[in-house]
Symmetry: C2
């Protein structure tokens, strides 16, 4: 019996009964599957949101939220910015060789230090360090960084409390056992006296975007890599000047430290660097670095 003949047959038999049954059944089925259908639409929405905000990190930089109205397509920096001749002092091969060796020897002495002397750092020095970080290249010259330099003892104490609370949870619950094990040789622990001992804490915030004078959102292309390169310039400047630092990435502290320091929604904490002079009893693990042939491939 095919469906059409069945329908004709049932219509002949009892029209009212069949249509009532159909309606009851349809309503019943819809109620029965309601949750799943709703979940479908909800999850599709969530999936899209998730894909928009996360997925391949690079992809995030592809699109901005602007409507791309051609009228609004003006570059963040004026398009007619003049180009000027760039002729830095020319150095001979011998000079370049000597300087590259000298710089390597200085940088090779750098170590991450976990115990600091309380001696304060002159404000002009801190200014020069941050100015040096600010010379770093960035995607489309967006300079997507904010450096918060904390010397106030009460604020350092508040930062220490937040980091220690989160670190306690990181070590006990959030990090893999292998990770905690891999950190053992460094004597890292959830208690962080250096956050109050070091004379200055530099908190490196990355700006994912900013606002242009015309009110349009300005995307910061490659803001992660740009901000980390700037942190490299900062660490190099600290070493060159004769100070030391601890390179730390406070896990899960972004929201609370951002709130504490009143940083806006477009900024995210990437690094926290205590800076100062090493404590007179400072020690470091006796580690080597990979030999050149392990990190360099010549073609």
């Amino acid at each position: 019996m095919n469906i059409i003949s069945l329908v004709v047959w049932t219509l002949e038999k009892n029209c009212f009964t069949v249509y009532t049954a159909l309606i009851v059944c349809f309503v019943g089925f819809t109620i029965f599957h309601k949750n799943k259908l709703e979940a479908h639409y909800r999850s599709a929405e969530k999936k899209e949101k998730l894909a928009r905000t996360a997925a391949v990190r690079k992809e995030r930089d592809f699109r901005d939220d602007s409507d791309e109205d051609p009228e609004l397509l003006v570059p963040a920096i004026p398009e007619d910015t003049p180009h000027i001749v760039y002729q830095p002092p020319r150095r001979t091969d011998d000079e370049v060789l000597r300087r590259s060796r000298e710089y390597y020897e200085l940088m090779a002495q750098r170590r991450t230090v976990r115990t600091f002397s309380a001696e304060p750092i002159p404000q002009d020095v801190l200014d020069n360090l941050i100015k040096t970080a600010g010379t770093s290249p960035s995607g489309a010259h967006t300079e997507p960084w904010t450096f918060v330099v904390v010397q106030d003892p009460k604020t350092k104490e508040a930062i220490r409390n937040i980091v220690e609370e989160e670190e306690e949870l990181n070590y006990s619950k959030r990090m893999s056992r292998q990770w905690v094990t891999d950190l053992k040789p460094f004597s890292t622990k959830p208690v962080k006296p250096y956050l109050t001992d070091a004379p200055a804490l530099v908190l490196v915030f990355r700006q994912a975007y900013s606002w242009r004078p015309d009110g349009k959102k300005r995307m910061h292309y490659y803001s992660e890599i740009s901000t980390a390169i700037a942190a490299g310039f900062l660490l190099a400047a600290i070493q060159y000047s004769g100070l030391v630092a601890l390179t730390s990435t406070p896990l899960n502290c972004n929201a609370r430290l951002r709130a504490l320091l009143s940083r806006p929604a477009n900024e995210r904490l990437e690094l926290l660097l205590p800076v100062g002079r090493p404590h007179r009893d400072a020690t470091v693990p006796d580690l080597g670095r990979k030999p050149l042939q392990e990190i360099l491939l010549k073609i």
Copy 2:
């Protein structure tokens, strides 16, 4: 009329017709909603997969793929690594101030250059630059980087072909119109003569993980930020030595350049830096940098 009395009433009227209609209706409804229900299950699965592989970038570093068998929980670096006294030369405040200023003044002269002189760079210089990059700090001292230095003209040509092909697609299809507009002041274009003109190309690869001598996978915690900081050290060394570079992030070139240079599956291209001396006619856009008070917050 409530549902129960309706059902009783229809049963009295014509049992067979009603049940046939119910079955037809149920099957029909299921077929009608089949796609949505399937999509629901598919999307839930995809959502989970997406959340697992991407989502918060930091999360990726939380877990490794190891089974966390306590027997295998040995740190990548020996746990009993001795700690040694670290006493770098102590510099007075005046010295620190002088050096921080001197370093800032040198770094402030750095510019991204897009036209290079063909003069070769001595191999020892390139070695010193990469050795300096290798002094950079890294998560749990994993040193998650490989620097591929290309001087061979044929390989440079092959790299240029790949980058130009991908860039043509990036500019015409993959990048937002706003992004392409924001790049106009820099005179960037899909044609990249500097990839064959510069005497050396440094390709910075990040290792997401490596293999320990015991065959266990070694996770490279914070490999993105560590590799970018090392690139900062490298750019600083290039500037200090008296050379110039172009900081570029070749979009969508990872797979093809990785294949060309035979890099393993655990490595990902992060940056491509042509290095050399500027062409005698080199120009740069006449840009300023943000003033200190825009990038520094003192607390």
